[in-house]
């Protein structure tokens, strides 16, 4: 059974780990952000898959997974805007977006 819940969850897990790898292993701050976006997408896929699989449950909760996905998309958009603004502000100070060089708050 290919279209079962489990295959979507495996897909989500794979995607999440790829995103995690990207977020951990990159120097460019924008690239780290892209990894985080992939992770958020993986979570969305799992949520939508759950809402699709448990559609026979109680009252309004049927589509809750999709509503959560909407919220995650909203927060991800906000996060991307703030993060990119921060990156550009840092670039203006240091003319670099290398996360290993941004150590102003480290001692």
């Amino acid at each position: 059974m290919l279209l079962s819940l489990n295959s979507f969850l495996v897909l989500g897990a794979l995607l999440f780990c790829i995103g995690l790898f990207g977020a951990l292993s990159k120097r460019n701050a924008i690239s780290v952000l892209m990894g985080i976006e992939i992770m958020l997408n993986a979570v969305n896929i799992t949520l939508v898959a759950f809402s699709s699989a448990f559609q026979h449950s109680a009252h309004g909760a049927r589509l809750s997974g999709q509503v959560f996905a909407v919220f995650i998309i909203t927060v991800a958009a906000a996060e991307a805007a703030v993060a990119l603004a921060t990156i550009i502000a840092i670039y203006r100070r240091k003319s670099s977006v290398d996360v290993t060089e941004i150590n102003m708050m480290k001692w």
Binding site: C17, G60, Q66, I73, A78
Partner: protein
Amino acid sequence: MDLASIVFLVLAAILVGSALAVVTLRNIVHAALFLVLVFGAAAGIYILLNAEFIAIVQILVYAGAVTILILFAIMLTQNPNSRGSNPMNRQALIAAFIAAALCAGIIFALSQNNAISAAASQAVTQNAGTAVAIGNLLYSPTSYSYVLPFEIATLVLLVAIVGAIVIGREED
């Protein structure tokens, strides 16, 4: 094997392949463009799960807006040498190990847990994920709905807009 399964396999392959391309490519503009492909394929997966509203919102917000933001940020923080603009750091090997271990762990847990595999045995079936139903669940004033979280999310967006403008503009 029916059409939906084939579509799922193709979409999953595109999704994983382009996600790998995003994290491994050396040219950051190419990586950002592959990110569009990730978002598009994820929208395809949502359509397969009968969540057409989420799919369209995904294209609108992620592929249309977030990617453009990222591309603009890349343009504004340009490196003279775009081919090597996306290097790995020193922890790349450890990161790969951690990610692989986490992935193996999740998949192992999925294969072990009886509760989930029992629920998974029922195929993902038709679901009326229409815009009206989601709208009712999001902000219906009378029935069971997420109207308070929705309002909070709008506030989060407002704060993010103002914050992004304040952070991003040049200081006078």
